[in-house]
Amino acid sequence: MPGIPDSPGVEPARSGFVDVNRTRLRVWEWGDEHDLPIVCLHGAYDHGRMWDGFAPRLAALGYRVVAPDLRGHGDSGRIGSGMMWNASALDIACLARDLGPPIGIVGHSFGGGQALYAAGVWPELFRWVVNIDGLGPPSEAFVEDDIVEMATRCVTAADRVLCSPPRRYASPEEMVERRQGVNVRLPAKWTRHLVAHGSRPAGNDGWVWKADPLFGVGFPGEFDIEHLHAEHEQVTVPVLVLTGAEHDTWSDLSADELEQRLEHLRDARHVVVENAGHYIHIEQPDAVLAAIAAFLDEVGR
């Protein structure tokens, strides 16, 4: 692709689009298409190409690795509102159904939450779950905010998204700078890669993120830590939870809270990966691969 830098990992062996659940998902694939499938889900505002480094390693274990851009992200279909949790889980179920279930599923951050949720709703479609730093936000995030503030934030943000053009950047370099400022531990070549595949030119007037801006618009509701626990309690398949040992943006569960979250998963084991923050599989792909290989030795492929 012109203007796209070389991948810091391995270019996908195949890519295309699949029609599922009333949307079109871009999917990226590594490995032999006759091998056992594994689906890898990226996190919020990312896309399937974040697996360029890790997917080829998984594929080398004898798997067909399929990494979609979630709806509202990357090259996949747009969303009607920021409340895409259920719709996206349906997408993943359809993908699993098409690939030949039951399959393994790996998810990072928001994608890790989606992987757990989909496996909880459709246990017959998923064999196991690897959750990479995706057990949800810290409980402070669920503390009851002032409802007037929540409603005002929602309506103001929705107005901005619906009634004005998306934020434009002068260049991809400006987007790299912004992203690097948030995800300070991300190696620069990966930040450039994530931006290269997560942005697009806005006509002749700068650059915009591919991620649908509606994704960031919340809607006041009842969801709280008890709902999250109840979702986790639905999961019956084996789960491997990976967290990084280092403090990082979007890795903000305290050790105590992490313990509490794990207690709501029936069949979970937890591995802490040294020298890694939130993007564990990017920072320490070999350690993550070793943990997954040991997990699969235990629970079966």
Binding site: R22, I79, G80, S81, L90, V121, I147, T152, C163, V217
Partner: protein
């Protein structure tokens, strides 16, 4: 001029906002905004084809943005869309709020709600018609699965206490809440709430109640300021 009125019709209403436009056309003095919400009548399903409780609010925001900010609308929300109407009121975008069997409920526990979402998702995934692209004509089969109203009494109470404008609570025998729950919530409204009961929540019956209430309460913003006599 009277304030505009915005109606978020009930989810799954086969006439969309049509019955409301008809009923209000002859009885409301101000502008009437009662669109067919996404997936209803001629309005396409939301992008991505899945229905969520935010849809109604997002669908009317562009129309609200074009209104005179000095004359905020009366916002009516029916059924599950009662919460979207309340959110607009909480955000300061309404001069009055009307819910029609729309206070949420029945009350359930988080575990019950998560189980209900799971069952609905499994049912949709197993329904070929509901999974196929939305039809260009006729009723979208996915609408049959409804939308879960929020089932949290705590959320309903927080909304009630904080609502900054007069509220009218219209209830019919089809309401998910028992009368005593509605009365208890109504008492929690800081701004005051009136409960009116109708035999059936038709657009005609509710419009009659809303018009009577609005003319009796005259929401402050709907009354042109009188010049102070010198």
């Amino acid at each position: 001029m009277a304030a505009p009125i915005v109606v978020l019709h009930a989810f799954g209403d086969e006439r969309g906002g049509g019955a409301w436009r008809d009923a209000l056309a002859s009885s409301w003095d101000g502008p009437v905004i009662a669109p067919d919400l996404p997936g209803h009548c001629s309005t396409p399903a939301p992008a991505g084809g899945h229905y969520e409780v935010a849809d109604a609010l997002l669908a009317v925001l562009p129309a609200l943005a074009s209104l005179d900010p000095a004359l905020p609308p009366v916002v009516v929300g029916c059924g599950v869309n009662g919460w979207a109407a309340q959110v607009l009121a909480l955000a300061g975008r309404a001069s009055a709020v009307v819910t029609v069997d729309g206070l949420g409920g029945p009350w359930t526990t988080p575990r019950q709600r998560v189980t209900a979402w799971r069952d609905t998702l499994r049912a949709i995934a197993g329904d070929l018609a509901a999974m196929a692209a939305p039809p260009t004509e006729g009723i979208d089969p996915r609408l049959r699965y409804g939308l879960d109203p929020h089932g949290s009494r705590r959320l309903a109470e927080r909304g009630a206490v904080a609502t900054p404008v007069p509220a009218l609570i219209v209830e019919s025998p089809a309401s998910p809440l028992p009368a005593e729950e509605v009365d208890a919530l109504a008492a929690a409204y800081r701004s005051g709430a009136t409960v009116e009961r109708v035999a059936a929540a038709t657009a005609e019956a509710v419009t009659a109640v809303v018009v009577g209430w609005a003319s009796a309460t005259r929401p402050a913003a709907a009354t042109p300021a009188r010049p102070i006599a010198g």
